[in-house]
């Protein structure tokens, strides 16, 4: 340490040290010269003689300098060259060990890159850690009056608060019409995020008031796509749903808002709340806020809780449980656990890889004992030997890392391609500087992990023994013990991975077995929007919708067609409260409710949703005819348990002054509604042709329908035909969300499938590595015991006995590992619990099968060397050495 410090200081004291050197050599030469002069030489001759005797002054200076500065740099270079030569000379070992490490390091780097981009990277807003959301149960929207109360009263924890609401207007007036994903935001919201617009400005104060709210801020993508990236777009007029809006700003390309819902938003418009100041029931707003400097989440929660409690006394039944959540949690909350689990799984793979390489090193080390003994005898210190070994390990690990980097690049592409659609920020994944830093760290850690134990063991061997054995090469009892431990831990780790993968696989199988409630094959859907077009005029809509379905049904290859407001699984989910005929008016907040669906005739047939009782909607369920409704089985079970639902009366919405009674005419099967395999909620289907709202005859109305068509062939092939059927009726109608139901289904189970694939891959690698590990140990142990086996066989042991003996030794370690792995899995699989569906975290079948698979692999791997052992003729075995 002191020496290193001195050398280090010397780097800076170069001149001083150089002068000192000069002085000392000078003194030395003087003394030499004196000596020669004393012997009678003339001074000049003595001077020359002194120089000669001293040796080259410059060489000497160079030697001196080397000693003075970082000698270990040079020694390091020597070590590296020696190490490289060594690796080069045993290509088999180098390739196998390098690939093993590449697998481990590469997979870890890839998964880390995903974790980094998705979980660790802060959101791209200013001081994003202080941004929070205030939402119903942490995810749902809240009513305007609640927002305004919070904003006015919660001033001690919050610096700013803003609200947003999704809006999908039709952008017209420039070539093709299209439905744009927009967000209506209060004026306070965008400035709160702290991102400056690339062009123009954000909304100014007062622009979220009625009359001044006709302005838009564009996303970079929309600006490029529809306005050619022209800077003169500022001040231009665009038509949204037929009304004129002025472009005031363009956001930078990296800007995205909102980050967890409405993520594909392409424009922002002011949200005027004046008219809804007293609205405590229209829950449509998502609230974003920035915490005050120094305010904690707990304070914010307490403040919002206190205000909500006050409001509940003032306006009972209108306040829903709201929660302050960090914005980041909204974004990554659902994927955090699975991603971290995958990171853990892949770390286990690296551990197994390290154990395997450690095996190989231990086996090699025994072959190199003579070399090291000799070097030690020639003066190399223990530290020097350990350094040499560690350098070799680091080289090996670096080699693995280089190959692993290639692997990581490739794996990352595969991961991004396979990733489920709900994995946020996956598009920002890259092998960036943090990934490389991680790679470096993993490389160094790996080298230490797999190399330190063998290195220390080699260096610690008593030299005398090594020399006496003159390189006969036996691992020594310690080596064997270490190796046995390594195999046992490998098997334990591999079993944990197998159990995890097995559980995820069973869970996925269970998910796939879930009945969607409809038949997705061949069904194509698209959203057709009439808002702002001539078809939106009162009365025109009904005709248009009927004509559209007629046209689509007439297309060749189309079996059936229908329409609905929102598709199950893929579409939005609107709730409604309910009154039931013949029962007392429920107290506020206690009304039953369900999912609000508005369907055109033909919808149930097209989707093949089974009709359980009564009838489906017909063309005659129109305005003027008696109002009808259809319920799903869940709704019947909740509202009419034990009664005949057909003929019952219900009224949708509890805030109407007068109930509008609808008669239940049919019951259909439950369908998967939003979260796959989540508990079904009651559904209330309204006949679209009787819905004043749907037909645009009431003040609030919905201006779009989701067209569904069942094709005879491949659903995707029917897209052009369906689009032209829409545009044949009106060229100006935007079509969006073109989707096959098969895709919607695949998306719904994409995350479990993704997890299962990753976990399965890791478990597979682990299995192979563990098998290779036990094979290596067995092969080595057999080769060491060749003589012993020979003696046993010459003394009369038959092949079966020997085979049993060798196998028993291998299997003992494997079984020990399996036992430890089972115990570890019992603990670790609980972490998976929340991700599992239809299978317990301690599922005995999964545990048993995983253990059996691992044991079979171990037996197979142990058989090869065991068979080799018994085939050795005893004479050869005895003569060996």
């Amino acid at each position: 340490m002191r020496r290193a410090l001195a050398k280090f200081i010397n780097l800076f004291r170069w001149h001083t040290a150089e002068r000192e050197l000069e002085r000392e050599i000078e003194a030395h030469l003087r003394l030499l010269q004196d000596d020669f002069e004393r012997r009678g030489m003339p001074p000049e001759e003595a001077r020359l003689a002194a120089r000669r005797s001293y040796g080259g002054v410059e060489q000497s200076k160079e030697l001196h300098r080397q000693a003075r500065s970082f000698l270990w740099v040079e020694e390091g270079v020597k070590d590296i060259r020696f190490g490289l030569r060594h690796l080069w000379r045993s290509p088999g070992f180098t390739v196998v060990a390098g690939l093993t490490l590449a697998l481990g390091i590469g997979a870890n780097t890839a998964i880390f890159s995903v974790v980094q981009a998705v979980l660790l990277e802060p959101l791209a807003y200013k001081d994003a850690g202080r941004l929070v959301t205030i939402l119903h149960r942490g995810t749902g929207p809240v009513a305007p009056a609640n927002y305004l109360d919070w904003r006015r009263q919660a001033t001690s924890s919050f610096q700013a608060m803003g609200a947003a609401q999704a809006w999908n207007p039709n952008l017209t007036g420039i070539d093709q019409p299209e439905t744009v994903r927009a967000l209506q935001v209060t004026q306070s919201l965008l400035p709160m995020l702290g991102v400056e617009p690339a062009l123009g400005r954000l909304f100014a104060a007062g622009e979220d008031q009625r009359g001044r709210d006709h302005e838009v801020v564009l996303s970079d993508r929309l600006w490029q796509r529809r306005f050619g990236g022209q800077p003169d777009v500022i001040g231009k007029q665009v038509a949204l749903n037929g009304e004129q809006y002025t472009v005031v700003g363009v956001m930078p390309p990296s800007f995205q808002f909102a980050p967890f819902w409405a993520t594909r938003t392409e424009m922002w418009v002011p949200l005027a709340l004046e008219a809804r100041q007293q609205d405590r029931r229209g829950q449509s707003l998502r609230i974003f806020a920035r915490l005050n400097e120094g305010a904690t989440l707990a304070q914010a929660r307490a403040e919002i809780g206190a205000i909500t409690a006050r409001l509940e006394q003032q306006y009972p039944g209108t306040n829903r449980a709201c929660r302050v959540t960090p914005l980041m949690e909204n974004v990554v909350g659902k994927v955090e656990t699975p991603l971290l689990l995958m990171m853990g799984a892949v770390a286990l793979v690296l551990l197994i890889a390290c154990a395997n390489v450690a095996h190989m090193l231990l086996a090699r080390a025994s072959g190199r004992r003579k070399e090291f003994a000799l070097r030690a005898a020639l003066g190399a210190g223990r530290a020097r030997l350990v350094r040499q070994l560690l350098t070799e390990n680091l080289l090996l690990s670096a080699l693995g890392a280089a190959a692993g980097l290639l692997l990581a690049r490739w794996a990352l592409q595969a991961i991004v391609a396979l990733s489920p659609p709900n994995l946020p920020r996956i598009e920002t994944v890259e092998l960036g500087s943090s990934s490389l830093l991680f790679l470096l760290g993993a490389t160094a850690a790996t080298a230490l992990l797999f190399g330190l134990a063998p290195a220390l063991q080699t260096a610690a061997e008593r030299l005398s023994i090594a020399l006496k054995e003159s390189g006969r090469g036996s691992g020594g009892p310690r080596g064997l013990k270490l190796r046995g431990f390594l195999v046992t831990s490998e098997f334990a780790l591999a079993l944990t991975l197998l159990v995890g993968a097995g559980l995820l696989m069973r869970s996925f199988r269970a998910l796939q077995a879930v009945d969607a409630g409809f038949d997705p094959r061949g069904v194509l859907s698209m959203v057709v929007s009439v808002t702002g077009s001539s078809e939106a005029e009162g009365g025109r809509r009904e005709i248009f919708y009927r004509q559209l379905l007629e046209r689509v049904r007439a297309l060749p290859g189309i079996e059936a067609a229908g329409a609905i407001n929102h598709l199950p699984l893929a579409g939005d989910l609107w709730g409604t409260s309910l009154r039931i005929g013949g029962r007392p008016q429920p107290r506020p907040g206690e009304a039953p409710g369900g999912i609000y669906r508005v369907a055109m005739p033909g919808y149930f047939e097209t989707m093949r949703i089974p009709l359980r009782r009564g009838r489906a909607f017909t063309d005659n369920d129109q305005l003027g005819a008696p109002g009808v409704a259809i319920l799903n089985e869940r709704a019947v079970a909740e509202f009419f348990a034990g009664e005949n639902p057909i003929g019952q009366r219900i009224s949708v919405g509890t805030d109407r002054p007068q109930p509008e009674w609808l008669t239940v005419v049919g019951v259909v099967a439950d369908v998967a509604q939003h979260d796959w395999a989540a508990r079904t909620a009651p559904e209330i289907y309204i006949a679209a042709l009787q819905s004043r709202e749907f037909l645009g005859l009431s003040e609030s109305h919905s201006g779009y329908i989701t067209l569904v068509a069942r094709t005879r062939g491949n659903a995707a092939d029917a897209v052009p035909a369906l689009k032209s059927a829409v545009w044949a009726l009106n060229r100006g109608l935007p079509i969006s969300e073109v989707l096959t139901m098969e895709q919607a289904l695949a998306d719904a189970t994409a995350q479990p499938r993704f997890l299962m694939l990753l976990a399965g891959l890791f478990a597979g690698i682990a299995l192979v590595l563990a098998a290779v590990g036990i094979y290596g140990v067995m092969a080595y142990s057999v080769s060491r015991r060749t003589r012993e086996i020979g003696i046993r066989m010459s003394l009369g042991a038959d092949q079966a006995t020997v085979l049993r003996m060798v196998l028993a030794q291998g299997m003992r370690q494997a079984l020990l590992g399996v036992a430890a792995g089972l115990a570890a899995s019992l603990v670790l699989s609980r972490l998976l619990e929340r991700l599992l569906y239809g299978v317990a975290a301690t599922d005995p079948l999964t545990f048993a099968v995983s253990a059996a698979v691992l044991c079979a692999a171990a037996l197979l791997a142990a058989c090869v060397p065991a068979a080799r052992a018994v085939r050795v003729p005893p004479v050869t075995a005895l003569r060996e050495e």
Binding site: H28, A377, G379, S470
Partner: protein
Amino acid sequence: MGVLQGTLDLIVLRTLQTMGAMHAYAIATRLEQISDDLLHLNQGTLYPALVRLEQQGRIKGAWGKTETNREAKFYSITKSGEKALEEETRRWRLMSGLVEKLLGEGA
């Protein structure tokens, strides 16, 4: 005959221990004398060893005057140098014994 790598330090330390503070020239001369001129130390190679030992704190140097009134750096062994010498000596004895045995076996 050259010096076996790693043994020069040992020799220097031992010389300083028995002879007390000496300058480099005197050390070199002493070594030649003691080895009956068998060990012909290129005097320039002595310096790296001295620098190394000084950096390790096993010897320390100070400028002074020789009896002929010449300027020279006098080196003397330190406490830690004494300890190191003891350790190295033991090591060397063990090692040379081993090597001797090995060579004797004719392996």
